[in-house]
Symmetry: C2
Subunit: 405 residues, 2 copies
Amino acid sequence: MALIVQKYGGSSVADAEKIKNVARRIAATKDKGNEVVVVVSAMGDSTDNLLKLAYQMTSHPADRELDLLLSTGEVVSSTLLAMALEEMGYEAISLTGGQAGIKTNAAYSQARIERIDPERVVSELDKGNIVIVAGFQGITEGMDITTLGRGGSDTTAVALAASLAADACQIYTDVEGVYTADPRLVPEARKVDEIGYEEMLELATYGAKVMHPRAVELGELFHIPILVASSFNDNPGTLIHGGGSMELRNKVRGIAHDLDVAKITVVGVPDHPGIAAAIFEPLAKANVSIDTIEQNASINNITDLTFTVAKSQLDKAMAVVKPIAKSIGATECVSDSHLGKVSIIGTGMQNTPGFAARLFSTLSEKGINIQLISTSEIRITCIIGEDKVEDAVRALHRAFELEEE
Amino acid sequence: MALIVQKYGGSSVADAEKIKNVARRIAATKDKGNEVVVVVSAMGDSTDNLLKLAYQMTSHPADRELDLLLSTGEVVSSTLLAMALEEMGYEAISLTGGQAGIKTNAAYSQARIERIDPERVVSELDKGNIVIVAGFQGITEGMDITTLGRGGSDTTAVALAASLAADACQIYTDVEGVYTADPRLVPEARKVDEIGYEEMLELATYGAKVMHPRAVELGELFHIPILVASSFNDNPGTLIHGGGSMELRNKVRGIAHDLDVAKITVVGVPDHPGIAAAIFEPLAKANVSIDTIEQNASINNITDLTFTVAKSQLDKAMAVVKPIAKSIGATECVSDSHLGKVSIIGTGMQNTPGFAARLFSTLSEKGINIQLISTSEIRITCIIGEDKVEDAVRALHRAFELEEE
């Protein structure tokens, strides 16, 4: 008998029929003699509908109230799923995040799980119940309801799998697994059977939407192998794990891309210590996430400082940066919101010459201008015009022969 | 500074504009220097929508799951109301029933409040917050969410008022108070300014929908005066209280009616001890509520036993009674589902001759046949044909001169 944690996303439980379909899948897992814990997201667009209601009340809902409001979405889908299982003759119980012992800090809208007290989940499993846990939510020491922010339900699933020492953690979604590139852009993109945590982390961080990097990180930390597969069929999916063989491959595993990139350049900055801090500390305080940062070589002690942010944060970032630019004597502050990024990801990249060269020459052959470059041990990212991203992903997929096994 | 508990029903918070209207009323109460605790029902038809979802899953949802599902409706309206207040510049916090310390037994779908631990509500009031509490729900010792069943939000409000030793408990709804009869039936029906708990209890139990008898009973038990008034205007409403002067009035205070009446007659029952128990114990076990019971004078040790149930319970009741009737040697078992009841209610009725006579003669003049009669100290109820109820209410309203102060 194995203990299996399954997670089903919002599109998998979008309506009554889909919930029943998910119930049948869960039942099949139970029938194989497994103990099953299920984490479920809110139905389809129910979170958006709750947000709409909130914004009819105020343009700035308090995070605490918004979290309590949004948490109802996952409670609804959890209870309905438990009912569907009961109708099929299975014993099931739904638990809120709080009832499931998911204790978080009080950082509303982006709470972090501090610990899981799994007693209730364990006792319900011991009674023979299938345990349905509302994803995306937790409870503070003061009994306030929090939500976990982006990737929340995936994170709930991986954290529960870790705390229960589950035998498997399975993330069921509306795609069939992890692809070498977005199949909507690259028809010949290939699903990979397995991938290392680090590679998946980079893929997720740099644009692959299939799983949130936060949940991948947690899986790596607690050594939880994570299966990503479709909830609509029985195809095998992709196993994310920490298998050592990964490191030796020295191969590009996938191409990630992201169209949500804007660039800010502070032009003519007097180059002396403390300048970067003067700009980036206020941005951090304003909760603006900075991605790539580049500083030109200084000429006559004058330099240009360029960095990227999400498009939705550009206005906020400019409002913070402009007065600072003025106060530190910079010439001007310019932005470009028509950007995207494309990344190649694979272990061993830094130890193997030729990856970067092939990347740059491929983009160059396509006449694509590279505006910024950033790298990690297993990733090279280029910031390019947003209208060039599709071309770039397709060309790179071919150049690195990702359509082949 | 007074502490005021207000309750707003589902029709008062049915949409964004109505929630904002309620927020303005709460703000006005706060502006007068009061501490305010607000109990709120689910928005308009949201509970019905959740029920629809549940019944798409199964025809018999487990009570525990259904309660957890339905409890989200009040959480949604509570958070939205808190947001509306914040938008107006007021500090407000919403609490689930569990967070507000409303501890119940585990009788899902009809849980009873065992106690209220008001620490969190008190501490939020101390911080200057308007406290919004999700009505109709509580939490068990085992941290499971319960709902309180019919009249739940009214009960939440009165119980909170009792536990907080509030100065006032105000139930705001879509009617202007308690009327001498249903104004939809009797245009000259008059709103009463005040009414005693007992009278209100009989009115509520025998058909006046304005407030649930359970909440009235709780108000009487803890001596909480309850104001029932409209949430859509500032008219004074009706104060339900225990003022002693009531007892001396010896006057009919109101006419209640109810169209939800069905009758079962077990014909030709051999009359010996234990027969009534043989019939009514199994009905109680099947959760069928019996209202009026009448047993004819026995002739040759054979009697007829007649009782009434809600129309929705008739089939269930007949299924229980038929085999019993057979087993005890009764001739047959007949039912009539086209009935209603009309009641006159007023303190001192039993001590004052003439009320019953005037009731019967009024119905007789209208050619209305009385099928069953039941009485309490302050009420006389007649079961009549459902098509006669409107006529009866109007005639009795005139006969007892209720249109006059």
